[in-house]
């Protein structure tokens, strides 16, 4: 069931209706039933994998909790005796005991993810290349949201290991945390300590909150249906036929893809957050106007924020602050100098983070290349920072000026756009080929109107232009700290309602869905 669909709206309305008439203590159960119903409607054949991950994670968490409780008792006794040595020893033993469970459950859950998302793909590729007919479609078995709930379950287990949270004693409630329907398709990747209590405690009916949630959903549908799905036609035409286009056509297509992926992803997140908000649940925002970033590092603090935070908390800090990599850093100083040696753990951590981000997107080489491209940019920035600073001073560039800020934003945008070749092209080779072909000088494709033969008409271009201007203006206000929904709520009711109704009308009329209408088909030719 797609988010930006009438079916989802009807589904959500039904869930809200049942939720708010159910006694408050049982409302979490309504969400659980709704989430599993959503999963069965969307991906019934693969529900079993989510159930396995849920049950295994629950049992692992409970086992870890019992070990921690046992050791904690003894640690408390040692504390009373002021026996620091024993306390340290017991803490170490507790960590070691729970670590075995952590490793086991992570291997299991990521093993399922790796097998379903990656192994079958590679097997299909090898067999196809060897000329052997493949009797299965690798894509069929990929469970809905497997990356999201696997990463969520990993965070849950690691947070228990770090004594940040206590394990959940209720399997059904934990099942809800992993399967909550607004986040299962596109995230955001939520943390147990932030989301669980919201899911479990029932929420009262609040008109303003529901109105805000609905408004956010409409905004998300606007981005998805009016912008992303419309611009996608041009992107598909060019990227699905890599050898046929070059120069400005390719440049326009990759810029359009950069817009499309943002509109699609952030639109989906807005719909998810809006849907959750109607039920009284606040989800983390996953995007903070990433194309306003003035560096690639900042971009990754504004883009897919929850994935970035997950990688930061569970990969980056784990690696960069670990004693092993600390020793490596010290050794590296001998050969690479103080500065670089000190950065070595961070550099390795970045490589691991962006390899994860690349692999998160998919199994193909192009996604890994996408991740490494980002890593190279960020690491280069880190290594060259002092030199670039000196250069700026030499050239008397005021890096705090507005002009520099604009330059930095455009520069970052171009870097990000180049990276998009890898994530959208059909393959790594196609990405390289398209990047090289984009250097062909052919501005006539713009002036001749050939662009309008690539899947979007002049009308589509007009609507896209207007939509992007509206989106840009709203983003500027948001960047300045203006809360748009709250600001609208202050306006006169007639103005407000006219705006909301126009927004709904714009989505349903201008949304790029349905079979499309061509007047020429309907003119009766057989006079």
């Amino acid at each position: 069931m797609a988010f930006a669909s009438l079916q989802f709206v009807i589904f959500l309305l039904a869930v809200c209706a049942v939720y708010f008439i159910t006694p408050i203590k049982a409302r979490w159960a309504v969400l659980l039933v709704a989430s599993y119903a959503f999963y069965l409607l969307s991906s019934p054949n693969t529900l079993i994998f989510m159930v396995v991950t849920t049950v295994a994670t629950f049992l692992a968490g409970r086992a870890m909790g019992k070990i921690q409780d046992r050791y904690q008792k003894r640690i408390d006794e040692a504390k009373e005796k002021k026996d620091r040595e024993t306390q340290k020893k017991l803490k170490s033993e507790s960590k070691a005991a729970t670590k075995r469970i952590v490793v086991g459950i992570l291997l299991l859950n990521f093993g399922i993810l790796a097998t379903l998302k990656y192994f079958w793909y590679y097997l299909e590729t090898i067999l196809t290349n060897a000329g052997i007919e493949v009797p299965f479609d690798a894509g069929i078995l990929i469970p809905l949201g497997i990356s999201f709930y696997t990463f969520q379950s990993a965070a849950y287990i690691l947070d228990i290991y770090r004594n940040k949270i206590r394990p959940d004693k209720n399997l059904a409630k934990l099942a809800l945390f992993f399967s909550f329907f607004p986040i299962i398709i596109q995230g955001p990747i939520s943390r147990y300590d932030q989301l669980a209590h919201q899911l479990y405690e029932g929420h009262t009916f609040d008109y303003q909150r529901i109105a805000f949630g609905a408004q956010l959903m409409i905004w998300g549908m606007f981005k998805k249906l009016v912008v992303a799905d419309r611009i996608g036609a041009l992107v598909d035409t060019v990227f699905d036929n890599p050898g046929q286009y070059e120069g400005f056509t390719v440049i326009i297509a990759v810029i359009c893809y950069t817009i499309q992926i943002y509109a699609d992803f952030s639109g989906g997140i807005d719909i998810a957050r809006g849907a959750a908000q109607t039920l009284g649940i606040t989800l983390e925002d996953n995007f903070k106007r990433p194309y306003f970033s003035d560096s690639v590092s900042e971009f990754w603090r504004r883009w897919h924020i929850t994935l970035g935070n997950w990688c930061k908390d569970y990969i980056f800090f784990t690696v960069s602050l670990s004693p092993t990599f600390g020793k490596l850093g010290k050794k590296s100083r001998k050969y690479l100098g103080d500065r670089v040696g000190k950065l070595m753990p961070v550099i390795i951590a970045q490589i691991l983070v962006f390899t994860t981000i690349g692999v998160w997107h998919g199994a193909e080489l192009k996604y890994i290349a996408y991740g490494w491209y980002q890593a190279v940019i960020i690491i280069s920035g880190m290594l060259l920072e002092p030199y670039l600073k000196k250069l700026a001073e030499l050239l008397r560039i005021n890096t705090k000026s507005f002009g520099w800020k604009v330059f930095a934003i455009i520069r970052t945008f171009i870097i990000i756009v180049i990276g998009r070749f890898f994530s959208r092209a059909l393959s790594f080779n196609a990405a390289i080929g398209m990047f090289i072909s984009s250097f062909t000088w052919n501005p006539e494709v713009i002036t001749s109107g050939a662009i309008f033969e690539l899947g979007i008409s002049r009308w589509d271009a007009l609507i896209l232009a207007v939509s992007l201007v509206i989106w840009f203006i709203i983003s500027v206000f948001q960047e300045r700290g203006v809360e748009i929904r709250e600001a609208m709520a202050e306006k006169n009711v007639v103005v407000r309602w006219a705006f909301y109704l126009l927004a709904i009308a714009a989505v349903v009329i201008f949304g790029a869905y349905g079979s499309g209408y061509d007047g020429a088909e309907f003119i009766y030719r057989e006079f």
């Binding site: 709904i504 349903v508 349905g514 309907f522 009766y524 006079f527």
Partner: protein, 380 residues
């Protein structure tokens, strides 16, 4: 005391706020539904020339008072270019509505009969047999949508869509039979905003023509004349497409369950020899079910006084002069065979009087011009 009063005031304020919010919520929801209803009506099957005026014809039918139509003539353009309903009423008092759409597929006829009988009790149903020679490959998405997207939402419409899609699936075509817009047209027509909308689409939500189904608005066609060859004498039979034959047989079986008269008609045309042979075959099938067929051949052309050299604008369709001749002839046939009543002078049929007035206003001048040109051609 003050504390209690404050608490009561607070409770009352909260209750007031809740009532206000409830009222606001309901009002906004109602406004949203009204807007949705308006948009669904506006962004629907096109009206005017683009939609071949089918929407206007259907709306005209639906606006008729119940049980004021004694006959309905169902079919493709072999109906609405030929049957001048207001003229038939003026001449004989019979009320026979031309319920047609261009290239109306045979598979939709059964459902059109059902649809018509919901609000009317026709004494005779006339069916255009000219669609019987076609195959599933010949049927376009637009041909089906002209029928289904202009029918009112009902089980009949849904069944018509289902049957049409089943028929279309037998052909190797590019039509997406799983497209949900077959059932909910807005999914298709919302993209008419790309240059296909006019101001009238937003204002006139119930466009109608007033000619009881006759295509009097097609002035660029009905006032023209072309020299067409006289159709060959053809008694041959060529089998029709097996899927279409199944549809025809199913239609005949359905007709035999009805408690009204039904007759198949082939209106004058000079289509290909093979097409005419196929129609002969189809007529035999219809007769085998005991259903009447009126096939226009030489004798009939002579009776109606139809001149192929002046009374048609192409090999398949009469101009207004030819249509009037055909109408007068068929009207007499229908009265003789089925004893259709004369409704002139009955107040209940005022709409037919005004339809005639509109028809005359629309066609008087053009008809006179055409008659002049025909006279000149004949004079030569």
């Amino acid at each position: 005391m003050d504390k209690n009063r404050n608490r009561t005031d607070e409770r009352e304020n909260r209750a007031k706020k809740r009532r206000k919010r409830f009222f606001k919520g309901v009002t906004f929801t109602v406004l949203t539904f009204l807007m949705a209803a308006y948009l669904i009506t506006v962004f629907s099957f096109p009206s005017g020339m683009e939609g071949d005026y089918v929407k206007e014809r259907y709306n005209c039918f639906y606006s008729q008072e119940e049980n004021t139509i004694d006959g309905v003539y169902i079919g493709a353009s072999g109906v609405d270019r030929f049957w001048v309903a207001p003229q038939a009423y003026k001449d004989t008092g019979i009320t026979v509505f031309a319920m047609s759409s261009s290239s109306m597929p045979l598979v939709t006829f059964k459902y059109m009969i059902e649809e018509v009988r919901k609000t009317q009790d026709p004494k005779v149903i006339i069916l255009d047999i000219r669609s019987a020679h076609k195959t599933p490959e010949d049927v376009d998405e637009a041909y089906v949508r002209r029928v289904t997207d202009n029918m009112k939402l009902s089980k009949t419409r849904q069944e018509c869509v289902d049957a049409s899609l089943e028929y279309l699936r037998k052909a190797d075509n590019e039509i997406d039979e799983d497209d949900p817009s077959w059932y909910f047209g807005f999914l298709k027509y919302h993209s008419r905003w790309k240059g296909d909308m006019q101001l009238k689409d937003f204002i006139d939500l119930d466009p109608k023509t007033d000619y009881m189904g006759y295509s009097a608005h097609l002035t660029h066609l009905i006032f023209n004349t072309a020299k067409i060859s006289y159709p060959p004498i053809n008694e041959d039979r060529t089998p029709i497409d097996p899927d279409t034959e199944d549809v025809l047989r199913d239609l005949c079986e359905y007709i035999n369950t009805l408690d009204c008269n039904v007759v198949f008609v082939e209106s004058p045309n000079c289509h290909s020899y093979e097409t005419l042979s196929k129609r002969n075959y189809a007529e035999d099938i219809v007769r085998s079910y005991g259903i009447d067929v009126i096939s226009c051949k030489d004798a009939e052309y002579a009776e109606m006084g139809l001149d192929f050299e002046t009374d048609l604008y192409n090999e398949g369709h009469t101009n207004i002069v030819g249509a009037i001749k055909y109408t007068r002839w068929l009207a007499n046939e229908l009265i003789e065979r089925y004893d259709l009543p004369d409704r002139r002078g009955d107040d209940k049929y005022k709409a037919w009087e005004s339809a005639y007035d509109s028809y005359v206003e629309q066609t008087e001048e053009g008809k006179a011009e055409l008659e002049k040109r025909i006279a000149e051609v004949k004079g030569q």
